[in-house]
Every structure is written in C-alpha cells, then in structure tokens.
C-alpha cells in the first residue's frame, strides 16, 4: 500500500479556479472548512459547488466571491438562520443556482457512483425545481413500464472534499461508534473522481484494520488524506466537538455587510498562515478544546 498522507497545500494544489467541487458534511456537521479557508487564501475562484445541506463551507466561499454556481438541497446556517453571504451573492445575481430536492440529489450521486449519466425519480413533476432546470432534469417514458419519469443528471465533479473523523495514512477513513448519520458523505465518496479527505486524526493502519467494517471511505477511493484537527471549525464534528456558537454568532454579525465579511475572511482565511495559525487566532488549542464532547469510539 502506498501512503496518501499529504499536507493541505499538496493535497489541494491540483484544484484550480473554474473547477467543480462536491463539498461534504451536512448542516453543522463536518463541512471541510479548513480546506475551504485554504481555497480562499489561495484565491481559487469561479467554482461550481455540489452539496447536500451546506452551511459554513458554502457561505465562506460565497463571502470570498469564489462561487460561480451552486447545486444542492439546502444552503443556510441551520439554527443560525439564512446563509448571509450566499444569500447576498444570489440576490445580486452573482451565483447561478440550481436547487435539487433530496431524492433528486441522492439519485444524482448514485448515478455518478455507478458511472451512469442519470437516474430516474418521480418527485419533481410540476415543481419549479424541474421546470427551471431543463438541462439537468428531463421527463421521459420508462422503456420497461411506460411510466413517466424524471431523469436527473449524475452529480459529477472534478474534485470531492470531505472532512472525516479518523483515518490512516492509506486514506481509509472510519466512523466512530456513536455519530450523526444525517448526511451523504459515503455516497459523495463513491461518486467522486478525485477525492481529498481531511480528518481529525491519523491513526496507525493496525488500528483501522482491526475493525474494517467501520471504514466508510475506503482508501481505494482516496487521492489524498490530510490530518487537520478541528478542521470543521466553526462547525462541529459529531462525536468530537460541538459547533462554536460564539464564533458563529460573530460570523453572522460580521457578515451583515460585504466589508464585515471581507474583514472576517482577511483575518481568518487570508492572513492566517495555515490551519495552526487559524487555531492560534481562535485562542489556541485550549480555546477550541472547550468545544470537545464525550467520545465513544474504538481508536483511543
């Protein structure tokens, strides 16, 4: 087996402006925010983003003016309200939006996983989600049954970035025993072309190989794995740490204007040297460790 352990710089270097990226996580769980801050710092722009329930990751990129197009089921800040920067950019007409409902997005990911151009659903008849997107949602008659169906286009992207719990240097990423399963990260991994995973911690392969059924992202699918503790901050990693409520409130406050959002990005993404520097800006490990929750897993 070949080591796939990289620095964030090396792992993300292939991502150029104009790329399409599937971003993992759902609501305030596991958005790959450290990677997102890297993209902003390195001025990667004109991105097409494919997401499930996106929050901080898409809003940070929208604040940076880096999003050209969005395709997903939700973009907001969960119990912190609407996504202020995403909302402003969409209202300005600066982001092209294609909304997809949950069965549609799942079918799109499954199609990409299977190497199919599309899969059918029966959900969106008569909905503006379908009527406003004739390129990616098309009605046809099932050649077997004759039933009318809607084909939805496969969710193909140039890159997929996920933030996971724990992995080994070969890219095998595992679930803890107690987690929140309300996401599609496993499906996004299966649908990926080039998969970059950041994880809270790298552990020896021997620890992973003892319980292979807990590996939800097989290293076989992974191009690069990077160790980034608190890599989802200010959002949460279920079973590791909670969302940083005070930071999120300050972010929402700052994001009421373009200038405020830009000052936030200058401080936390553009001027921070790297992720360690970001943690230092938050007050160091002692400050973020206050967010830690009780762990129930097999790696300790």
């Amino acid at each position: 087996m070949k080591s796939k352990l990289f620095s964030l710089d090396d792992a993300l270097a292939p991502i150029r402006s104009g790329s399409s990226i599937s971003l993992g996580g759902s609501l305030l769980r596991r958005p790959p925010n450290a990677a997102v801050r890297w993209l902003i710092k390195n001025n990667v722009r004109d991105l097409t983003l494919l997401t499930w329930a996106a929050t901080t990751a898409i809003d940070l990129l929208a604040a940076a003016g880096a999003v050209k197009r969005y395709e997903g089921i939700y973009a907001g800040l969960f119990n912190f309200g609407l996504a202020p920067n995403f909302r402003r950019r969409v209202q300005e007409g600066a982001i092209e939006v294609r909304d997809f409902s949950e069965t549609a997005m799942v079918a799109r990911l499954r199609a990409a996983s299977q190497g199919l151009p599309s899969l059918p659903i029966k959900t969106l008849f008569g909905s503006d989600i379908a009527l406003k997107n004739p390129e990616q949602i098309k009605e046809y008659a099932c050649p077997i049954s004759g039933e009318q169906l809607l084909a939805v286009a496969a969710a193909r992207s140039d890159f997929t970035i996920l933030h996971g719990y724990v992995g080994d240097e070969f890219g095998n990423v595992q679930w803890p025993l107690v987690r929140d399963s309300d996401d599609v990260d496993q499906m996004m991994a299966a649908a990926s072309s080039r998969l970059i995973v950041t994880v809270e911690k790298i552990v020896p392969h021997e620890v992973i190989s003892r319980r292979p059924a807990l590996t939800y992202i097989p290293g076989q699918m992974v191009e690069a794995i990077v160790e980034i503790p608190y890599g989802a901050h200010p959002a949460a990693v279920d079973g590791f740490y909670d969302e940083d409520q005070a930071h999120l409130e300050a972010y929402v406050e700052a994001s009421q204007t373009d200038q405020g959002a830009s000052a936030y990005l200058d401080r936390y993404a553009r001027q921070a040297l790297d992720h360690s520097d970001y943690l230092r800006l938050l007050g160091g490990l002692a400050a973020v460790e206050k967010l830690t929750v009780e762990r129930e897993d097999t790696w300790q």
Binding site: E102, D128, V178
Partner: protein
C-alpha cells in the same frame, strides 16, 4: 384566546388529533425562534401527545433517526445532543430516508415555508425572480418529497398576507394544482397538503377543486381577522366551526410530561 390554554397548546392538540395509530411522521430538525416552534417544537410535542393518548403505535423520523425517544428535550439543541439522541435506528445515510419517502413509507410530515397559495403550492426557495431573487431562502430539502409522496402532510404556518398568497413566486413543493393543471395531470400521485394549521384558524382542501377551505376558527378569532391575514379568499363554509380546545387531559400531559420546561413550545 381562551385563558385556559396558550395558542401553542391549542396547535399541539390539533397536531395530535391528525396523527393516527401506527402513523410514521416525518419531522425536520432545523431553524430557530418561531420557525423552530412551528417546524419542530409543536410537531414533536403533538406526536408525543398522540403517542400518549390514542396512537401508541405512532412513531417519528427526526433528523436521520427512526423512532426517536421523545421523552425529553434539551434546552439548547447542539450537535452533541443530536449525536447522542436515543432512537431505534439511525440508517447508514440519508438515502434510506429518501427511498422510504419515494416508496410512500410516511403517513404524516410537517412543512412550513415562506409562501403558500390557494392550491397548497409551497415556496421555501426564493421570493421574487429565481435567477435574481429579492430574498433567497434555504432551497428545498425534502419538502417536494413530502408533498409528492406523504399521505397527509401537515402545513404549519402563521397566517400572514405575505405568506398566504394568490400565487407563490416559486413552486418548491406541488400542492393540488398549479397553472390550471391538477397534480395528477402534472404526473404526481395522491398526496399534497392535507391540513394547514395556523395561529388563527385551521384550513384544509376539502373542496371539489382541492383549493383551500376554512375549516375552523380558533376561539376568539373573527372571520374578518382571518381574511385580512390572507392574500386570497379561501372557500368559506356555511357553518364555521370553532377549533376544539385542548382537553384538560391533553393540557396536563403537555405541561407536566411532554414540555414541562417550555422548550418545544417556547415562542
């Protein structure tokens, strides 16, 4: 308003009465403030109330949890409270839930949005032009699935002229008809919103063309007040009922067992 119960207690008892024994009810997890009370608080309290009274076999799907334990609720819902929530099952990813929806595994769902029209079309996506909206909202989540596949979706919205409109700006979820075509003509099966539970009245779609009808007024609310709060005129029946008040048993369960700290029915 009846001095013996709060408006939220009335809505909770109304939700409970829509839930039948053995129903599987889909409840969302998001938002805050009044939107949380409408989308999560009242639905969970109503489901629990139904379980304790006439529907012991009713269960919920909340987050990605099947049959979540509804016996207590923390004051602040952070990720770790969701992570450790007790439930019968937490399927490996959300695709399972999507499949259950598409195969009509759910009896009830709870839905709210920024706009709803006469035929129950719901908008949670954008106000104004889709490409350059006046207000961009959250998108769609699984709300189109709820109206497409769930047997009796329950809409929870406060009555407001800006929300109850003649024509929604964007049809996220298809109700009973749009642009002169019925949902069946559009290609959907049975379903669509079953009842609309508001802060002033209960509405339903029990009309020949499945457009909105006033079912009952909450005690103390006038017909005029309801019509003033709507951007279209629903069908008004000859005899307008008063929404039945919660029973003393319902109130006792809500106050002492289900939500003693007023977390679910806060605002």
């Amino acid at each position: 308003m009846n001095a013996h119960h709060t408006p939220n207690e009335l809505l909770t008892s109304q939700v409970a009465r829509v839930i039948l024994d053995d129903d599987l009810a889909f409840v969302g997890v998001g938002t805050n403030g009044r939107a949380f009370t409408l989308a999560v608080g009242i639905p969970l309290a109503g489901l629990r109330l139904a379980q304790m009274l006439h529907a012991p076999g009713a269960s919920g799907y909340w987050g990605n949890l099947l049959e979540p334990d509804l016996s207590s609720f923390p004051e602040h819902l952070k990720q770790d409270s969701l992570t450790r929530w007790k439930a019968a099952a937490s399927p490996v990813d959300v695709g399972y839930k999507c499949d259950m929806l598409a195969r009509r595994g759910f009896d009830v769902s709870f839905d709210s949005g920024a706009q709803i029209d006469r035929y129950g079309n719901l908008n949670i996506t954008a106000i104004g032009d889709y490409a350059r909206p006046k207000v961009r909202l959250v998108g769609c989540l699984a709300q189109p699935e709820h109206f497409a596949f769930v047997r009796r979706p329950i809409v929870m919205m406060d009555l407001d002229r800006r929300s109850f409109v003649e024509k929604v700006d964007f049809v996220t979820s298809v109700g009973h008809a749009r642009d002169g075509r019925t949902r069946q003509e559009w290609g959907l099966g049975e379903g669509g919103p079953h009842v609309v539970i508001t802060n002033k009245a209960i509405l339903d779609f029990d009309t020949p063309d499945r457009s909105m009808r006033l079912r009952s007024l909450h005690d103390g609310v006038s017909l005029e007040e309801v019509l003033d709060s709507m951007g279209f005129r629903p069908t008004i029946p000859d005899y307008i009922a008063i929404t039945p008040a919660p029973t003393s048993r319902e109130l006792q369960l809500i106050r002492q067992e289900i939500d003693p700290d007023r977390v679910l029915l806060k605002v």
